[in-house]
């Protein structure tokens, strides 16, 4: 199922509505890469609250999305990973290292709203 992407101020919010096939995930990746340019967004929230499984492919794709968007100048934060899903991911040895995560949409917005903290310091 297609994931709707909403514009909220300077951010994009991709709200996953149902289980995702591999093709849906790849479509989301391409949509977001386009929209970040179209709306000149600095931050993207991907809400995965409804996902009951995040397997190795989904993890790899979410990581790829975050890294691609970073190259396009936007910060990504994944929100809403359920406790059971987090447990299964840990059992599988899957991580989202280097990628922003937050409890829910509200926390995700807070995360994106503190850009000063994440600025890369100029070398001394």
């Amino acid at each position: 199922m297609h994931v709707p992407v909403l514009k909220q101020g300077g951010y994009l919010i991709a709200s996953v509505q149902s289980v995702l096939s591999d093709a849906d995930l790849l479509q989301l990746r391409d949509d977001l890469a386009d929209r970040v340019g179209q709306f000149r967004s600095r931050g993207v929230i991907i809400d995965v609250t409804v996902l009951d499984v995040i397997d190795s492919f989904a993890t790899r794709t979410l990581r790829a999305i975050a890294h691609m968007l970073k190259l396009r100048g936007a910060e990504t934060v994944i929100v809403g990973i359920q406790p059971d899903v987090a447990f299964a991911m840990v059992q599988l040895g899957l991580t989202l290292e280097g990628i922003g995560t937050a409890l829910d949409l509200e926390e995700g917005l807070t995360y994106l709203d503190r850009p000063a903290k994440r600025k890369i310091p100029h070398g001394k």
């Binding site: 591999d22 009951d52 790899r60 406790p83 059971d84 299964a88 599988l92 040895g93």
Partner: protein, 133 residues
């Protein structure tokens, strides 16, 4: 022997179907909470293994019994190229393709029992079980 559910795996979209049927059967067998997620995730990994390496295959889901223990049995079988070195394929992080090399060893960690049989040119069969606590 109780009836079994067979899910043909012909493309990546069937992976979603396989894990939904697996979750439904596991629920009917009495599993709950985190176990359901672990089972669904393990099915996702073995089904993806079929799509990535063999193209076609099937997932067979059924109840498992052993003495006083009850649980779920999941078999993933294909008639694909087979795996030359099963030991290597079961090493975490080893992948012949673009993957993370997490699938098969990861599925093993998620389940209680895991057995893989593969013959080059004949195909691969993975059988895994999870028991109710």
């Amino acid at each position: 022997m109780e009836s079994e559910t067979r899910v043909p795996i012909n493309s990546a979209t069937d992976i979603v179907m396989a894990r939904q049927k697996g979750r439904a059967l596991a629920t009917a067998l009495g599993f709950s909470g985190a176990d359901l997620t672990l089972i669904a995730t393990a099915i996702s990994e073995v089904a993806r293994n079929i799509v990535d390496h063999a193209k076609l295959g099937e997932i067979i889901l059924c109840a498992a019994h052993q003495g006083s223990r009850h649980g779920i049995s999941i078999t993933a079988q294909d008639e694909g190229p087979g795996i030359k070195d099963v030991f290597q394929a079961m090493q975490y992080g080893y992948s012949t393709r673009k993957g993370l090399g997490v699938g098969l060893p990861g599925a093993k960690w998620l389940m209680d029992e895991f057995c893989i049989y593969s013959k080059v040119g004949k195909g691969t069969t993975v059988t895994m079980k999870k028991w109710l606590q």
